[in-house]
């Protein structure tokens, strides 16, 4: 699959090391970039390489797409240096989406950590837009420090204007911070989950997901009530090369969103 060219409409920094690219296309109709919440694109920084990046915008908005990117290595560094008007390559969208149809009618508990909120943001938009089709809606979000929190203004607006219970927490803070300090798993106490009625979507660093899933299980959720998004190194993103193999699955095709019961055995072997 050959990358299509897209143009950077805007680049802005969300935190010290996370930035968001707004991408538009003049050569292709934007409907070709239609995606479902949870899917990802392969972004190609010319001359440097490709990286798998989830789409973090509202899937109902058709004019542009957003990608929030943590600057960690070669490709993401190159992407962070882009300017308005620059062109990059894009392939996608790829992968399985969050099961937003399947979980209609249930209470939803989203647990996100760090950049893990980005792949979940399209689901949040979707649920808020179809709010009546879901039960109680809770978002538990943990970040490294107050300055590392993604989308703080939007979080505040959601909490004010919509029927969603949001709890945020940071690992560390000075005494000026008025919010909560600790780890994301501690927020479950405030969620008052009804385990039978709840479906949970979890995304963040693997170790954060491990602890979160343990805590959800302690609160009575079964493994098949939990969905998570996994990251593996990607190359083709088409299910050919095997780079993203995770046990018997290829994350690019069968994931990145999995029902936890399907990946549980291998997820637990890989734990720290």
């Amino acid at each position: 699959m050959i990358p299509r060219q897209v143009r950077v409409k805007k680049i802005f920094w969300e935190t010290e090391d996370v930035f968001t690219l707004e991408l538009v296309s003049e050569d292709y109709p934007m409907s070709e970039f239609y995606f479902r919440p949870g899917q990802f694109n392969m972004l190609y920084a010319f001359g440097v390489g490709e990286a798998a990046i989830s789409i973090s915008s509202d899937s109902a908005k058709k004019n542009s797409i957003l990608h929030s990117i943590h600057k960690v290595g070669y490709v993401t560094n190159a992407l962070s240096k882009l300017k308005k008007g620059d062109v990059i390559g894009i392939r996608g969208p790829f992968g399985k989406a969050w099961p937003l149809e399947e979980i209609k009618g249930y209470d939803i508990c989203i647990m996100a950590g760090g950049i893990g909120l980005a792949p979940l943001r399209p689901s949040i938009y979707y649920i808020l837009k179809h709010r009546k089709q879901y039960g109680k809606f809770t978002l538990l979000y943990g970040a490294r420090s107050p300055r590392d929190m993604l989308y703080p203004v939007e979080l505040e607006q959601w909490a004010k204007k919509h029927d969603i219970h949001i709890e945020t927490i940071v690992d560390r803070a000075d005494s000026m911070w008025r919010g909560q300090v600790g780890v994301v798993t501690e927020l479950i106490d405030y969620a008052e989950l009804d385990p039978e009625r709840t479906r949970s979507m979890v995304c963040g660093p693997e170790i954060m997901m491990k602890y979160s899933i343990d805590e959800l299980k302690k609160n009575g959720l079964n493994e098949d009530q939990i969905y998570l998004s996994l990251e593996r190194n990607m190359k083709c993103a088409l299910g050919f090369c095997g780079h993203c193999q995770y046990g018997p699955s290829f994350v690019c095709k069968e994931g990145p969103v999995f029902n936890f019961s399907k990946v549980k055995d291998i997820f637990e072997i890989r734990e720290l």
């Binding site: 090391d17 943590h70 600057k71 960690v72 290595g73 950590g113 760090g114 950049i115 943990g142 970040a143 490294r144 590392d148 927490i169 690992d171 560390r172 803070a173 000075d174 005494s175 911070w177 008025r178 919010g179 909560q180 300090v181 600790g182 780890v183 798993t185 501690e186 106490d189 405030y190 963040g204 660093p205 170790i207 954060m208 602890y211 720290l272």
Partner: protein, 152 residues
């Protein structure tokens, strides 16, 4: 006046506790109220009580000396503040500050320790409940130490 045993029974920490034990614990309990920014206890003070938080939020801070006060944890309704009352030499290792108005039930440590000594079954029940909290805090501290959100 609020019925203390009724309030206690509804707190998650006391959930499913035998009525007889509930009565004994109620004998050590009192209602307390702190205002925003009040210091509930300070590092090094004697741990005479612990608290079942009913409403409001509390921050635990360590004095990081030249680093200033470091906030390590915040707690809220349904949670337990303090375990130093159960472990000799019964001194607080942190400072606890009310981030907003806080209503809590204070349990007198010495009173409860005496009851636990007299009735080891009650003592064991308390230890089981506190071990669970300690295990949770240890896990949280591990997760904080792992600095899981840092990359690169």
């Amino acid at each position: 006046m609020e019925d203390l045993s009724g309030v206690l029974r509804n707190h998650p920490f006391i959930k499913d506790l035998d009525e007889n034990y509930l009565k004994q614990i109620t004998g050590c309990a009192s209602n307390v109220l702190y205002h925003e920014n009040d210091i509930i206890f300070s590092e090094g003070d004697e741990a005479v009580q612990f608290y079942l938080i009913r409403t409001g939020k509390v921050a635990l801070e360590i004095n990081g000396r030249e680093k200033g006060n470091v906030r390590i944890l915040t707690m809220g309704p349904g949670q337990i503040l303090g375990w130093s009352w159960i472990i000799s030499p019964y001194k607080w290792h942190f400072e606890a500050r009310a981030l907003e108005d806080v209503r809590a039930i204070a349990l007198d440590g010495e009173c409860l320790r005496n009851k636990c000594e007299e009735d080891p079954k009650l003592g064991y029940e308390m230890l089981k409940r506190f071990s669970h909290i300690l295990e949770q805090r240890l896990q949280s501290t591990r997760m904080q130490l792992l600095d899981v959100y840092k990359r690169g």
